[in-house]
Amino acid sequence: MSTLLVVDGAAKSFRGLKAVQNASFEVPQGAIVGLIGPNGAGKTTLFNLIAGVFAPDAGTIAFDGRSIGGLRPDEVCRAGIGRTFQIVKPFAGLSVLDNIVVGALVRTKHVAEARAVAERTLERIGLGPKRDLPASSLTLPDRKRLEVARALATRPRLLLLDEVMAGLRPTETDQMVEVFRDLNRSDGLTILLIEHVMRAVMALAQHIVVLHHGEIIARGAPQDVVKDPAVLECYLGEEADI
């Protein structure tokens, strides 16, 4: 399996605070990798480095063999990386469908074509019945789904998911997990996800990277990582119930 994303020695500080230091990991083509760690560990900052929101202070980020560190977010998107936001950012005044059309327009100039892509994506994510509602009227779980649908409509090869399961009920989480499994299996979509809901991480990820105080403290297969003493200490707790 070839490697799709390589993060090598990435670092980012905000004034004195070292949000991410010397982070190195890889995401193989077609894999689902989980990024976990306590609040404030630097997970979202790491995402933002990959997605082009911030340029890394040090280190390199390569996507499909090409350096993307320092590119703007729109350039990263066009390169084939889609992302969701932990704090959802719907285009509140637009309909659910139009929100997704905006995403689809990155690959085509034609609105009709983008609309066709958006409609398929909408059905797949289970937002079909809500297509003509204004995005502002959606509940939080549906807003999370919209985040995913919009990112998917850009037809990424790598999808960055930032806590899309947070706030979902267990059955909704399972549905979402199924959607991602399906995208991964049938479309070959590679996924890197930040997630606190261990139920989802364990069900999805083939590989887990643990971040703490901006540094990677553990990595490996899910069942090994959750038994790692360092991870138990800082994140999951002694009585981890998984």
């Binding site: 977010p73 729109d74 285009f91 509140a92 905006v102 327009l105 609105v111």
Partner: protein
């Protein structure tokens, strides 16, 4: 929106406006000309604010520069507005792009962007006070003669000619904006307006698209300036660049409905008719109160903001069965 109904409504409106000069007296014609002028200019402003979410409070800059350039070369060299309008568009797009570049490159947004637009309009006003070629503070006057003959080459003629010209502009701007709103540009502008960070994450080069909005808006507004110069025949920096002029331009779309196609038209009609109506009414009653028009603007704006926060058009469209 129910498209067929909207098209029928537009068709009827256009038909009425086309035959209006046959029935209307010169006073009514001048009022409707004014309405169409504000509808057109409001539509131009709406591209920037209503579609792309970039608040300009200095659109008088483009009206003024467009007006002065076209009038200036006509006054001095006898070059008519068909050439002048291109000069006006080029100059205003350049100005708009300078303002846009300064703001968008250096992350100036929201009210600070609005302040920048005011600043440019203000220092251009002061600049024109000192440009003798344009007449300075004393103003620039185009020769006025009793004209019954239409001289299309120089855009001189009877009021009916100006009426049809501004009607064509307003209708053209409406069609252009309707098309833009359904194109990729429309989707991208609205995405930027709603959430710029999310827009960027979806592959939108926000700088480029915001610049495009400014360029289109300033180009359209400059044409309204050219119309203004040849219709009114006199230009004073203190008037045409004044911030109150910018406010007058944006009140229509705000009251009618920011970001909607019909908003600028409805807003211009409501404001102009009511303002003229109240002036007439007070004159008939023998009351002369200076500034009553402005007080009235204030009251209407207050009422709309309180009771129709999205403007007159959205609830009206629902009533007419044009939208849900």
């Amino acid at each position: 929106m129910n498209e067929r109904r909207a098209l029928v409504l537009l068709g009827v409106l256009l038909a009425v406006l086309l035959v209006l000069p046959a029935f209307a007296g010169s006073y009514l014609l001048s009022v409707v000309t004014l309405i169409l002028f504000f509808a057109y200019t409001g539509q131009a402003w709406n591209v920037m604010m209503g579609f792309a979410g970039q608040l300009s409070l200095g659109h008088s800059l483009y009206v003024g520069v467009g007006a002065y350039l076209a009038a200036g070369i006509f006054f001095h060299y006898g070059i008519g507005p068909w050439a002048g309008v291109w000069l006006a568009i080029a100059a205003c797009v350049a100005l708009g792009c300078i303002i846009g570049f300064l703001a968008f490159r250096f992350g100036i947004s929201g009210v600070y962007f609005a302040l920048l637009t005011i600043a440019f309009a203000e220092f251009t006003r002061i600049g024109f006070d000192h440009l003798q070629w344009f007449g300075g503070p004393g103003g620039l006057f185009l020769k006025v003669a009793q004209r019954d003959q239409v001289d299309l080459a120089n855009f001189r003629g009877p009021p009916t000619m100006y009426y049809y010209a501004i009607l064509a502009l307003a209708a053209g701007a409406f069609a252009l904006c309707a098309w833009l709103l359904r194109s990729r540009a429309g989707f991208y502008w609205q995405a930027i307006r709603e959430n710029e960070e999310a827009a960027q994450a979806l592959g939108i080069n926000t700088f480029r698209w915001k610049m495009l909005a400014v360029a289109i808006s300033s180009a359209m507004t400059s044409v309204s300036g050219v119309f203004f110069a040849f219709y009114y025949n006199n230009l004073f920096p203190e008037q045409i660049f004044h911030i109150s002029r910018s406010i007058e331009i944006i009140l229509g779309p705000i009251i009618g409905g920011v970001g909607t196609l019909f908003g600028p038209v409805i807003g211009a009609a409501v404001l102009t008719l009511l303002a003229d109506g109240i002036t007439e009414l007070l004159a008939a009653m023998g009351v002369e109160v200076p500034g009553i028009k402005q007080v009235f603007y204030g009251v209407v704006l207050l009422a709309v903001v309180m009771f129709l926060p999205n403007g007159i058009w959205p609830p009206l469209a629902r009533k007419l069965g044009l939208s849900k």
